[in-house]
């Protein structure tokens, strides 16, 4: 047996966005090394180097878009879907960095590591969308998960932050084991780990069905953990609450986008011929996820926990499109996640500004009377809340329309009806924040300060501009995400 490595198939040019980020991550670490107590300047450059990396990766991403290439002998693919996901991840990373500039130095002096880890997390997330092989997928998943465990425990002196990190880590590692086991079973059932290979075997009816289905079930559990579907969601509120808020903002969007992208690709590319087996379980998961997420969010006193449960509910909405099984579902999910990045990170940014010095969280009471004391912050939060609740003409609305349309296109009308009903439930807790801001009087006049800074303001401006403009002119972005996924045999 003689194996040669054919270098011509190592089409490295098409992982350039990821490579760019890695290069900049190294630059960040290098800059950090040159910082000394006497000369801390290089360390202060790190956020801007990281931001430059994000911008550079976005430019590279633009230059590689429009092609459709598989590489590493079918281990990864660069199609419109992967490019679209890259934009979303880079957007979330960029906004996350803007939020971090003033915040992170307050909790941890090792800011260089923070930005390097953030960039590496983004690299892993981007690979999630590109993966076309279960091995690549597992690697990408672990790359970003391991980095995120560390990021959520970044505030090493805070009992809450470290607790969040250990909870996230243990449950995450636990789910990785399931994920790997699922991958192994699918390999056992089909004899391959490549998506196209799996699709080929299942299409021909050659697969070992019990092994395959057991593998799918374990894989779904692994994904369910990452995108926080009920009943795999229990870590979400704890980690969102305990992690440093910029990290929460970044990961709430990044993890969800990356894991959902991979989820859609596995299900629609590798396993479309098992649709009958997974559609109904996913639909049921979507319903209980929306139910638990929305109703639990109603009862939260902490803003971060409320947003955590709301993110669970949003995972349910996105899952409706996957359960529909139609290829439009992937486009809808991408568009939705794109809008979600603006709205959700924006909302976390406002929460961050409301946090009192040294606290990781802000309570609902903190929002009371904000309309009087800080009209601009209140206005921004209102836009984000209306956006998340799916109010037109803000960005969230069209995302929901596309998602539910995809569910209907897949024949799941009842699921769309359920999702729409839960949207109405969701409006209650978003509106409560608005009501607190505008209809109530401030509780505590002394806690009047909001922590604003120029980078945060820029991040907020981008978030609000995106929420409004993508809402008023959604056509361009819908086009950008249309017919994005390279399907098997398509």
């Amino acid at each position: 047996m003689e194996t040669t490595l054919d270098l011509s198939t190592l089409n490295l040019a098409v992982v350039l966005p990821e490579l760019t980020l890695i290069v900049f991550a190294i630059l960040v670490m290098a800059a950090d090394v040159f910082a000394t107590p006497k000369n801390p300047a290089p360390r202060q450059w790190t956020p801007w180097i990281a931001l430059a990396g994000v911008v550079a990766a976005a430019i590279v991403n633009l230059s590689v878009s429009g092609r459709e290439v598989t590489l590493f002998q079918g281990a990864a693919i660069l199609d419109k879907f992967a490019v679209g996901l890259n934009y979303i991840i880079l957007l979330a990373t960029g906004l996350g960095i803007l939020l971090s500039v003033k915040y992170i130095p307050r909790i941890n002096k090792q800011v260089g590591e923070y930005y390097a880890l953030t960039l590496l997390t983004a690299t892993g997330m981007m690979m999630m969308g590109a993966a076309l092989d279960l091995i690549t997928l597992f690697l990408a998943l672990e790359i970003f998960s391991l980095a995120l465990y560390i990021l959520s425990g970044l505030n090493r002196t805070s009992p809450r932050s470290t607790e969040a990190a250990i909870k996230y880590f243990l449950l995450g590692a636990f789910s990785s084991a399931f994920f790997a086991y699922g991958g192994a079973l699918i390999y056992a059932g089909t004899g391959t780990t490549q998506y196209y290979g799996i699709a080929q075997v299942t299409a021909a009816g050659l697969a070992n069905t019990p092994l395959l289905y057991a593998g799918i079930a374990l894989l779904v559990a692994g994904f369910g953990f990452k995108v926080s579907l009920v009943p795999f969601h229990s870590w979400t509120p704890d980690v969102y609450q305990g992690a440093p808020t910029p990290v929460t903002a970044f990961m709430s969007v990044g993890t969800k986008a990356a894991a959902f992208a991979a989820f859609f690709r596995v299900m629609l590319v590798a396993l479309p011929f098992s649709y009958g087996a997974w559609s109904m379980p996913l639909a049921l998961l979507a319903v209980i996820t929306m139910a638990v997420g929305n109703f639990a969010a109603l009862q939260q006193r902490s803003l971060k926990r409320m947003l955590a449960y709301s993110s669970i509910a949003h995972a349910g909405y996105i899952l409706t499109a996957l359960a529909g099984g139609a290829a439009e579902g992937a486009d809808a999910a991408l568009f939705y996640l794109f809008t979600y990045a603006f709205m959700n990170i924006g909302a976390f940014a406002v929460v961050m500004a409301l946090e009192e010095m040294g606290a990781e969280d802000a309570m609902q009471d903190r929002a009371k009377g904000l309309g009087k004391t800080h009209p601009i912050m209140a206005f921004l939060m209102a836009i984000f809340m209306f956006g998340l609740s799916g109010m037109p003409p803000l960005a969230g609305f069209y995302g929901k329309v596309l998602l539910f349309e995809a569910a209907v296109a897949g024949g799941m009308i009842w699921l769309a009806i359920a999702a729409v009903a839960f949207t109405a439930v969701g409006a209650v807790y978003y509106l409560r924040v608005i009501a607190n801001m505008y209809f109530a009087d401030p509780v505590d006049e002394s806690a009047d300060e909001v922590n604003r800074s120029l980078p945060l303001d820029v991040g907020l401006a981008i978030a609000v501009a995106g929420t409004i403009l993508v809402g008023v002119f959604p056509g361009f972005w819908m086009n950008a995400f249309q017919q994005s996924m390279a399907l098997f045999g398509g």
């Binding site: 037109p392 209907v408 009806i417 409006a427 509106l431 002119f473 819908m478």
Partner: protein, 532 residues
């Protein structure tokens, strides 16, 4: 003229947005107030131009604008106005101007936000009346929730938090149901254009039982969306709370225009798009309408709060609209031999009468109830209470106020010679021919209307002797102390005069608006008649 005719609708629609932007960058309260009033005159003027320029001989959609908007969704920015929407656009701009003018005299805190919200509100309502694309329609429909929610929540009464969120959630539940129906219609017809979808008659090419099931689902989706807004019994429970807590001008717009959005949806979307399905379910619409008329009127009699009473009278009066719409829908089915019921000229005339009556009721109710809510505001600004048992004998002390209230009250109970009469006349003329039993039941409501207007309102407020011990904290409208009730001041009179004049003019010349409505209703019924 050519230019104006092709762009008048976008100009009317987006002018409030421009005004809102100007308000946003202005900080001087006087300037904001006067600027808002002046800004609102342009849409008013242009909507009068619309009334004049709309060619009734040609009929149909005019001033149409159709620009591609969200191409991946096939949604376009399509606006148009026909005999149905032209008068309603006028009503919207008129009431907006009057409300803004009235608010300039009564709103004292967070002035900037208030007038900003009002401009957005006007924008959204105009958008609903003009939109010819489902997505656009839905967008404006939803936008209208937000400013009203904030108007109630920020400038409302004591219980405003509860009332505002109830208003929002109830209407939202309806509108998400509508969203599903819109998606279903889109899948059946492949277009988001409201007129094209209506012409395509979704689901009708399917086997009969499947067609009935799917079109019924769509019908009820739309029905929920619109019935919550009308509000039709039993979806009306948000209305009294919202009205009671809303600031006066908010109530005027809520009753005057926002409720009409629901009825407008029935006539613009449900009846033309799902005629046979509407006929199938028409008795439900009729029954809910008739029940609302009677129930609303009886509940009015039991009220102790003046504003809540007027709010329930809205439920009752919007019941006439539902009754008329339902009666017309009942004529849209087929005879046993498969021909259209509308082939019979008598049925056709009755259906047209019923729709015209419903439309007149929408328009007249906008004017009359708008005036009534303003009148409630007038007394509330002085007495700071709306409890009916605190008043009495105001007739001699505030004759001007008495006179206005008398006209508006009589118009509301349908006295011939005033605007309300024609609406009730046409509605019942049409309904008696088509759904006689329910129409007869609804007549009870007319009698009860007279009871609550005369006995509850007129007697409690104006008759008898003034008793100064009942209420001892009167102020003037500007908030200074007064020894007793003071009569209306100039800005209040100026707000109300156009409405009072309108009641008389339309009472004698209902054809002024009826012609527009008739061109719409005859056109729609004709298109349905030729369907089978």
């Amino acid at each position: 003229m050519e230019f104006l005719n092709s762009w008048v609708l976008p100009i009317i629609l987006f002018w409030p947005a421009v005004a809102a932007l100007l308000i946003f960058i202005t900080n001087d309260e006087r300037m904001i107030k006067w600027g808002s009033i002046l800004a609102s005159l342009l849409p008013l003027g242009l909507s009068i131009y619309l009334l004049a320029a709309y060619d009734q001989g040609v009929g149909g959609m005019q001033f149409v604008v159709d620009i591609p908007w969200i191409e991946p969704l096939n949604a376009s920015f399509a606006l148009g106005a026909d005999g149905l929407s032209v008068p309603l656009i006028f009503l919207t701009t008129l009431l907006s101007t009057l409300s803004i003018y009235y608010s300039a005299g009564t709103i004292r805190y967070r002035v900037k936000e208030y007038f900003l919200m009002f401009q957005l509100l006007e924008l959204s309502m105009l958008g609903v009346f003009m939109a010819l694309d489902y997505v656009l329609f839905y967008v404006f429909w939803e936008i209208s929730l937000v400013p009203m929610y904030l108007l109630i929540g920020i400038w409302g009464g004591k219980n405003r938090g509860y009332a505002s969120i109830k208003f929002f959630i109830y209407t939202l539940v309806g509108s998400v149901a509508m969203l599903l129906a819109i998606l279903g219609t889109y899948y059946a017809t492949g277009t988001f254009n409201i007129l094209d979808a209506a012409a395509a008659k979704p689901f009708m090419n399917l086997p009969a039982d499947q067609a009935l099931l799917l079109s019924s689902l769509a019908f009820w989706g739309f029905f929920l969306g619109f019935a919550f807004k009308v509000p039709s019994f039993p979806f009306h429970t948000w209305l009294p709370d919202a009205h009671t807590e809303a600031p006066t001008a908010g109530s005027v717009i809520l009753a005057g225009v926002l409720l009409k959005l629901g009825a407008y949806g029935f006539l613009r979307i449900i009846l033309p798009t799902f005629p046979s399905t509407s006929a199938y379910w028409s008795m439900w619409i009729v029954a809910l309408g008739a029940i609302a008329i009677v129930y609303g009127a009886f509940v009015c009699i039991a009220q102790t709060d003046l504003k809540r009473l007027i709010a329930y009278s809205s439920v009752s009066h919007m019941g006439y609209v539902m009754l008329g719409i339902g009666a017309a829908a009942s004529a849209m089915g087929r005879n046993p031999d498969g021909t259209s019921m509308l082939n019979d000229p008598a049925v056709f005339d009755s259906a047209a009468m019923a729709i015209n009556g419903a439309l007149l009721q929408m328009f007249m109710h906008g004017i009359i109830t708008g005036a009534l809510f303003l009148l409630v505001g007038v007394i509330y600004e002085r007495a700071h209470t709306r409890a009916l048992d605190k008043f009495g004998g105001l007739g001699t002390l505030t004759p001007y106020y008495y006179g206005f209230f008398l006209v508006a009250g009589f118009a509301s109970l349908g006295l011939p010679g005033l605007a309300g009469f024609w609406a009730e006349f046409f509605t019942f003329r049409g309904a008696f021919a088509l759904v006689p039993l329910w129409a007869a039941f609804g007549v009870i409501g007319i009698v009860m209307t007279a009871v609550y207007i005369l006995w509850r309102i007129m007697q409690s407020l104006f008759f008898g002797e003034y008793d100064s011990t009942k209420l001892d904290h009167w102020t003037t409208v500007t908030g200074e102390h007064a020894d007793g009730p003071t009569d209306m001041v100039a800005f209040e009179k100026l707000t109300l005069w156009p409405l009072i004049i309108g009641m008389f003019v339309l009472g004698f010349f209902p054809m002024l608006v009826l012609n527009y409505f008739n061109s719409f209703s005859v056109g729609m019924l004709e298109s349905i008649r030729t369907l089978f």
